[in-house]
């Protein structure tokens, strides 16, 4: 995942922390380019500002944050055609937290409705997908907690 981000030239990530991604956060924290937002909607708005100012940001969230993000996605990023990827880590239907299992099930329906791309970060096409999203060809990129 980290090499895909680097290959795509991502220079900022805006995140609400998810389990499993500490290596990614640390990678961008080394250059002070990891912004921790208090809410996913806020992360989307920050990334929108970064993009308009000329940067190449990615928002990274857990699937439970998708609902929190939608108003800013629809009425700021989409409405004004501000393109950048939103990477979603889906904890999945086998998660040990029953509430997260419900979140995964219901959020998948939402993601289906607004279109997303699945990614296995280990298979090497991550950079292309991030670039496609940065250019407006897609937005939501979804993987499981293990990166696939």
């Amino acid at each position: 995942m980290i090499s895909a981000f680097d290959e795509a030239g991502i220079d900022w990530i805006v995140v609400v922390p998810s389990s499993h991604l500490n290596d990614l956060y640390r990678h961008f924290q080394k250059s002070s380019r990891c912004i921790f937002a208090t809410r996913e909607e806020e992360a989307v708005a920050i990334a929108s500002g970064l993009k308009v100012a000329g940067a190449f940001p990615v928002v990274v969230m857990q699937q439970s944050g998708v609902g929190n993000a939608l108003n800013a996605v629809f009425t700021l990023s989409d409405a004004y055609k501000i393109h950048f990827p939103i990477v979603v880590i889906d904890r999945g239907l086998q998660d040990d937290n029953p509430v997260q299992r419900v979140s995964s099930r219901e959020t998948r329906k939402v993601l289906d409705a607004i279109n997303f791309e699945s990614i296995d970060w280990d298979l090497g096409s991550g950079a292309n997908l991030l670039l496609a999203a940065m250019n407006g060809l897609t937005r939501w990129i979804v993987s499981g907690p293990d990166g696939s």
Partner: protein
């Protein structure tokens, strides 16, 4: 003071290179009426609660003074963004909250309890916070260069009828502002 006078004083006090973001509803209508041809403004027509973080994103990647004009109701929707501004904010960022204590664009419903002073919230977070009651207050404050930042200004305004709607200009704001950053960088 009247909201339109407050917004006009903001525009008059800022340097020509400043970028201004405005919140949905009457605030964006008033700003757009003053600067309809400008490529350095961004008028939100939705995304309530997003002006403060959007402005922060512009300030963190841009290299110039950025001013966000929030409404009190919009700020309250994403209050956590004040903490994020405290955490990452720069001297290039000024957040002005036009505080009329209500959701004026939807009929004037109160946004706050009567005992709340909105300025106490950014102050308690440790942000450099000022209260302005007149257009002259705003102009005087904005003409002072910030040494440390960011800065929050609470502009106390009364209800007032707005300028006409922004309309279909909305989709161009991002493209225009992006172009402004590109041509004026470096």
């Amino acid at each position: 003071m009247k909201r339109a006078d407050a917004i006009e004083s903001i525009v008059n006090a800022l340097p020509q290179s400043a970028v201004i973001v405005s919140a949905l509803g009457f605030i964006s209508r008033d700003l757009f009426a003053l600067l309809p041809e400008s490529d350095r403004i961004f008028c939100c027509m939705g995304s309530m609660g997003s002006v403060a973080p959007f402005t922060l994103g512009l300030a963190m990647a841009g290299n110039r003074k950025i001013v966000g004009i929030e409404g009190d109701g919009s700020l309250l929707m994403n209050l956590g963004s004040l903490v994020t501004i405290k955490r990452y904010g720069t001297p290039m960022l000024t957040l002005i909250v036009v505080d009329n204590r209500c959701y004026e664009s939807t009929g004037g419903q109160p946004s706050q309890p009567a005992t709340l002073l909105l300025e106490n919230i950014p102050r308690s977070i440790g942000l450099d916070t000022h209260v302005c009651g007149t257009p002259a207050d705003i102009e005087q404050l904005l003409r002072v260069p910030m040494k440390e930042g960011p800065r929050v200004i609470i502009a106390k305004v009364e209800k007032q009828s707005p300028a006409p709607r922004v309309g279909n200009a909305a989709p161009d704001f991002a493209e225009n502002l992006y172009g402004y950053f590109q041509k004026s960088s470096g």
